[in-house]
Amino acid sequence: MANKPILKEVLRDRGVSRRGFMRYCATLTSLMALPAAMAPKVAQALEGAPRPSVIWLSFQECTGCTESITRSSAPSLEDLIFNAISLDYHHTLQAASGHAAEAAREAAMKAQDGKYLLIVDGSIPLGNPGYSTIAGISNEDMLRDAAKGAAAIIAVGSCAAYGGLPMADPNPTGAVSVSQIITDKPVVNIPGCPPIAAVMTGVLAHFLTFQGLPDLDELGRPVVFYGDTIHDRCYRRPFYNQGLFAKGFDDEGARKGWCLYELGCKGPVTRNACATIKWNGGVSFPIQSGHGCIGCSQPDFWDAGSLYTAVASPTADITPVAGMAAAAGVGAGVAVAALNAQSKKKTASESTPVTVQELGDKQ
């Protein structure tokens, strides 16, 4: 902690040159749609961030979100930056465990009271506190306690943002999202199963550079990354527009790269940046690899029916989402309206695949 190397040293030890870091800050700035002249400020903010600026708590989760950030492209600058800025207090990654780790967390919270960023992955079980505890402390208590002194809270991954897999029907643990518990502070949702690493660093960099949060939509997501659907930015879109659909994963259409809508692609109802930022250092994303989007960043995607049926929308339960909108300080009416819009789309296609004819009518 006190003797932890600063970002500059971490980068140097890993052979990342100054140019490499400047290049990273330039692309991050562009990604966040910030004015290009901000790049040196972003670099400065990342380097000058006091440690620990971030406390990361893991609740009911699979560690996939942490994997996404630590196993991102090589040399993983996302990983290095998180390491230098925060990860003393990452439950999964820190060396200490048990009471020693909790004591360290409490000391950090005290030292940085009111200033640290709280990152949470995983959902919180309300059914029985014993379903998930850390050093004997229930997830709910730990979240409430850590939230008190946080400047802002980031719910990373679909579980923390919307309940995710643990909340899937019949929700055996009574899982809820972060924003269903914390209602008096801004909660940024970075959904995705897992979310894209660059989106996580982008929000962190924004927070450090401007001492504030980026613009959020009615579901608490940063607009700059979740403003468009996958379908809006999909390179297969021209085929969709022409009604050219693959009907099987190995048919002629699939080989020609036609639209995957009829194979269950949820791109049209999924807001995420996969089609532009892509995965594994910008190499590819699911649709480019021949599989439809499964809608992993939407609320309740697990309960949306088959991944391979052309159903346009997840069957979202209205209660938790309305709660989320209220927590984000937005009228619940917005969330209801959004859901209505979704369910309208759903009725349009119900459970039978949409025909080319119908698609033509919709445009």
Partner: protein
């Protein structure tokens, strides 16, 4: 005529004109008080054809460099000295960011103090 730019009237209606005017102002600022500017090309309201016309209008300068620093980046000086086009590419070759920079030399091109120090120390060790 757009503002003080009578020549901007030719080819009026072409969106790259206003960017050229912005660049002209930036170059003047660089000469007057050393202030540098950066324009993120992805934020400009330019289509592919507009952008190609903009690059044509700026022309080709004397410098072209490829940088390998955690990925490929390129720097090209345009025909207007002090106006550079900087591009950062992903592993698969797609453009991650593209900027027009108005300065004596783009930051990414310069050797940085931190790296120079490492180089000196390394060379020193070999000579010791």
């Amino acid at each position: 005529m757009i503002g003080d730019y009578p020549g901007a009237w030719d080819g009026m209606g072409e969106p790259e004109q206003s960017v050229l005017i912005e660049i002209h102002r930036a170059v003047s600022a660089l000469l007057e008080d050393d202030s540098e500017s950066v324009i993120d090309v992805s934020t400009l309201p330019l289509g592919v054809a507009d952008l190609a016309r903009l690059e044509d209008a700026l022309g080709q300068g004397e410098v072209e460099a490829t940088i390998e620093a955690g990925g490929k980046s390129t720097v090209r000086e345009t025909g207007v000295s002090g106006v550079w086009i900087v591009e950062h590419f992903s592993e698969s070759g797609s453009v991650l960011a593209k900027t027009i920079e108005v300065c004596e030399a783009p930051t990414i091109l310069r050797a940085h103090r931190e790296d120079i120090e490492i180089g000196r120390d390394e060379l020193g060790r070999r000579l010791a």
